[in-house]
Symmetry: D2
Subunit: 396 residues, 4 copies
């Protein structure tokens, strides 16, 4: 079909042109004498994205799921207990992964659309006098429901109960898009992926690990080799890797980190908030409901939107893709058929958001969903106009 397709799933996200170009290179020598001149500064600058000075960054050729696996196998032993909450497909899958690696998971089930239950966590931690819980898991942004959780609150719960458990954060769909503060929040392992805020293809798990977690690795008995921190530490310190690294991805990552730092992380977060809010204004104008139950949980990277009863979101998404080249996110697991998701993260601007909203309206009309054409787009435009004027004046 003619024209540019619209990719509005919550990852993989659009790869910016400078990142594409940086990746489109002849293959390189993974043991070149000058490779460290490239890799060492990259590791350094990645820490700035995590807002960490004390931590260490790891780059595993894998998806984010591999990052979850690296987090637990390097720090825990069979039978160790972890605390986790299940409120969406991805928080569910991380729990599943822990169980399959022989961990005992104390799992708090929440309604889908809620975030990490900070108060429940606090109660459980307070009750765990024997410190059987070795790690607390928190999904900063549940991609399935468009819910952002309060990681600082989880840290507070740990601190107030003086609980020594490690804090693991799944930041795959938040880091580099929504504020994340590794050191300030005392996060021990943060897991990000290349294909969301880092604006790259899938294929890299990007972790930042605290010194406390690294120290745990010595006694961690879970088997590991591919995802072993120690092999990485030994070779990364000289700028190399324990096995053939995907150098083209690293070249792309360099470009993406440069773009993030040039725009400024706080500007990146503000842009995501502004664009996400534009989408929410449109949803409100359509008289539809977000999956996220409360404003504090609204995600600036993805909105999961309930279709009115009687409409099938799978049919809508299929129609959008086949007829207009627009990719929207499916409803996952128990939300399947009921919600569609608009990903609004990564290399995004007003023009792109308006293209998505306009085309969603066209799709809704085609599917017979009762909305007024132009209503959602108009609400977003009006929001962008009202909040952007000062900025516009400044820019000229």
């Amino acid at each position: 079909m003619a024209g540019i397709r619209g990719l509005f799933i919550p990852g993989p996200t659009n790869v910016p042109e400078p990142v594409r170009r940086a990746m489109d290179i002849p293959m390189e020598d993974q043991r070149a004498p000058d490779l460290p001149d490239f890799t060492l500064p990259l590791f350094h600058d990645l820490k700035r994205i995590f807002k960490s000075e004390a931590g260490q960054v790891f780059l595993f050729p894998s998806s984010g799921t591999g990052g979850w696996e690296a987090a637990i196998t390097n720090t825990l032993s069979p039978g160790d207990k972890v605390l986790a909450a299940r409120f969406g497909q991805f928080s569910h899958l991380w729990i599943d992964l822990c169980q399959r690696h022989g961990l005992e998971v104390e799992s708090v089930d929440c309604e889908w659309g809620e975030g990490v239950p900070v108060e429940r966590y606090a109660d459980i931690l307070a009750a765990d006098q024997g410190h059987k819980i070795k790690a607390v898991l928190a999904c900063q942004n549940e991609t399935a429901t468009g819910v952002t959780s309060d990681i600082a609150g989880v840290r507070k719960a740990l601190d107030e109960t003086r609980h020594p458990a490690l804090l693991f954060v799944d930041g795959v769909s938040s880091i580099a898009s929504i504020d994340f503060q590794m050191d300030e929040w005392g996060v021990d392992v943060a897991v990000a992926g290349s294909q969301k805020g880092f604006m790259l293809p899938a294929g890299l798990a990007i972790l930042c690990v605290s010194q406390k977690a690294l120290a745990m690795a010595k006694d961690a008995k879970l088997h590991r080799c591919y995802f072993d921190f120690a092999d990485m530490i030994r070779t990364n310190k000289d700028g190399f890797f324990p096995y053939t690294p995907p150098l083209n991805m690293f070249r792309g990552l360099r470009a993406s980190v440069d773009m993030l730092l040039e725009e400024g992380l706080e500007n990146v977060f503000a842009r995501h908030h502004r664009l996400g809010e534009g989408v929410r204004r449109a949803v409100a104008a359509w008289n539809m409901k977000l999956c996220a139950k409360e404003k504090r949980w609204h995600s600036d990277t993805v909105s999961a939107i309930h279709l009115p009863d009687g409409f099938d979101s799978n049919a809508l998404i299929r129609h959008a893709y086949r007829r207009y080249g627009l990719s929207l996110g499916l409803g996952l697991a128990k939300l399947n058929g009921k919600v569609f998701r608009i990903g609004h993260l990564g290399d995004l601007n007003e023009l792109m958001v308006l293209s998505a909203l306009g085309t969603v309206e066209l799709v809704l009309r085609d599917q017979g969903v009762p909305i007024k054409a132009g209503s959602g787009v108009g609400a977003a435009i009006e929001y962008f106009h009202q909040t952007g004027t000062a900025l516009a004046v400044a820019a000229e």
Copy 2:
């Protein structure tokens, strides 16, 4: 700035991914023994785009202006008379070029917003009993005003007056987007450019020339060498060129011709009409006026839109570019500051048109132009929905 920019000028147009990829190749050998296997079928298929069996296609490394120059220098002699109409910046420039090459131009001045004055042409041709007029010029699509002219009508005027003048058509912003029929309309030289409907960067003038015009070349006394048809004919017949050709552009052209033929020319034209009409519905919803004075002149490749009095279209275009990464066409010459142009040709779809309309609305709001946000986008959506349902059903 973040995100994809919006290129909605009437050329150069967006280069489709397959064309980009086809061009991004290591440099090739311009005299490779197998080059003719590539070039000869390309020439053949280009004729299908012009709807010509009898004509011959030429590829000059130049802009469309070079194509105009090739048209006249190969067929005319100093002092020859040509008939032309001036109703926009590009029809004006072609006249200027003729004069600078020593031709005498009988120029009909029209209001900008009108098309080729077919009746006036007929009168002039009828009066030219001595057949002093050697060529009639017609701009099929005046890019400056968004006006499409009736080329079949010009042919009819020539036929009815039994006038032997050559018919030259500037199809730079129409060919491959709006129906053009070389043989059926008896066009003698058609000039197209790579950067519009052919969806390539600028750099190629693409001409189709009738046998009648080729025969004229023998006696044409205007000086020429770079743009000489004869040198091309001599080398092209074996698949080669008289000087180093831009092979990467030819590879891209192959991809673009393949895309056009795969979609089907009539489908390409229908798509342009549908998308152009969507834009016109939005303009109407904004209560603005097109530069094109009558419906029969509405261009399916570009709309020139009058801003209400008191607003400066240059400021609007600058704001759109700087603040939102949206490129719109300037008002040219006497229209400068008064109109802005939306190019809607080439590799385009509903999603892209809606992105342009939505962002134009945002820009209009920012500039204080009194429109209701969502009105134009909504009108376009509604038009796309109403006219697309049958198609949508068929596609699934």
Copy 3:
């Protein structure tokens, strides 16, 4: 520095232009309704590369090391015994990986430069009446020493002793370059990587697994989740993946599989043999010795070459890289400083091999190694000429 660099390490290998172009695409929707139309045929055709009808192919976003891990964790349980041989750095690392996952390794140490000790394997298997050995590991091509082993021989040893152990083959630097016959040789897990014969960047482990091995997965007690076959089987059957796949790599893989099948696997193998033999002729002309101790072990994908005593191969490799942009393989582990390696696999032809040999000669001269300039290149040319004439005649 000016000009094209020469990448002659044994992986990552040169990425062919069609593969580069196939990968350089806007990001795609990992759950697009038409994705299976792409992925299912890809899985099918990959089996042809492994010469397997009965097996199942898996694509893990990881390096080849991850492929080793997938092989054992899906089929074995803690404490299981495996038989392996150590005759180079990569056969060593696979043994190490097994041990770190809690397996008991019966390891046969060989001299570096020898291949899998088929007779020793046969003796050990014969002696293992209780079938304690659950899997036999064999490295088809030891990249560190340039040694190719006899996998059919290992199968014969298993068959003759009627031993039920699984046969695991590391084919990372052989599959798609040197003949490999999954079904014929009764291989149970074959591990390949994207960055060698598949001519892609690093980032994919490509496995083919027999039904016998898949059946073992049910009772295999080693922990796994990221590398779990079952999750892949469940989602791959519909053309999807259990976590975000690197779609750009898959697009590249499609292009590379197409190239391999178009050339024809037997032609690919013959080309590798011819080019490898050209390198060996040059080595002989230089009066140098290969690391591979016997002709039957000569690798057609990489040659490890001993420098004369008194010369430091690290200095030579560094000089080649810095001064001439030529990348050669380091001597690894106990071979460090003593050998340099020329990778001659993947997207390679005579012109490229001659560029490497010529530049190696220049580097040898610069380093004071006593060779006659032109001797090795000349020997390779003469070999290519003598063996290529028939082919050359046929091609014209």
Copy 4:
């Protein structure tokens, strides 16, 4: 066929990766408000390549032939006399172009293999007391024969005879590869093309024009429009163009100019000399003769090499292309079938030259030409080694 092809024709030359990447971009807005921030510094830096402060640079979308046409049509009038020498196909074609534009050419015919006959020029200019000669043409590097001429000598001849004629230089295959000094040598129009030393695809004529020549434009009566300097001057001064410019080529040109200036022009020239001399050493070792008759005329960008009697260079070139993917230059016009040309200009290094020489030897052996395999490559290696040691030491 597998592997990288070898492009060793004297243009188009290999496009370096940074230039390819710079060109592979989404299409841009030719009237963007920030375009001048890009174009004005580009014009400025191009003057550094021509070694001109006083001149003005022009970029025409055309081949070098268009550059020749621009040179004469902007400065001369019908019937004007020019002095030129014919000693190869390209010097011949420029003369032909002048004649077709109505100029009177005083043409000095030389043997092919000689350069501009400076003494003959001096005699003719001295004899032209009435200053009928308005322009003197000199081809700095005759691509057909591999001959470089003495432009400073031509200037000297003009100065010594106090002749006011303009000096036009065809530097298409020399500028940016061989020293060229616009101001120092008093050149009035220098014509370069994108596809040689500028390492871009064909498609741009790059001119530098003296103030003296610009002043002539006012009275020059040759017809021109597409190639008119005045239209360019009027729009270029603000950073824009009179017709749609090939912006992707300009982006590539920016990258190429950056590469040239970063390497340093004198280093670029020295590299070309070194690599060209390596080729000449090989030719001598093969006991073959260059077309260039004397050492002072040896071209550092292309060598035209006579095959021994009884061999057909067309067959050799065809075999090299079809069998090994090596492109060599044909013998042109009267040299057809007798010589083959090795282009050694642009983005080139020792490794690439050795790949060409090695493959040429293989081709010569296949064709039965009596040479010893390795002899030419060895001679080049030895030359590179002997002359490169000091440099090599310095670089590490």
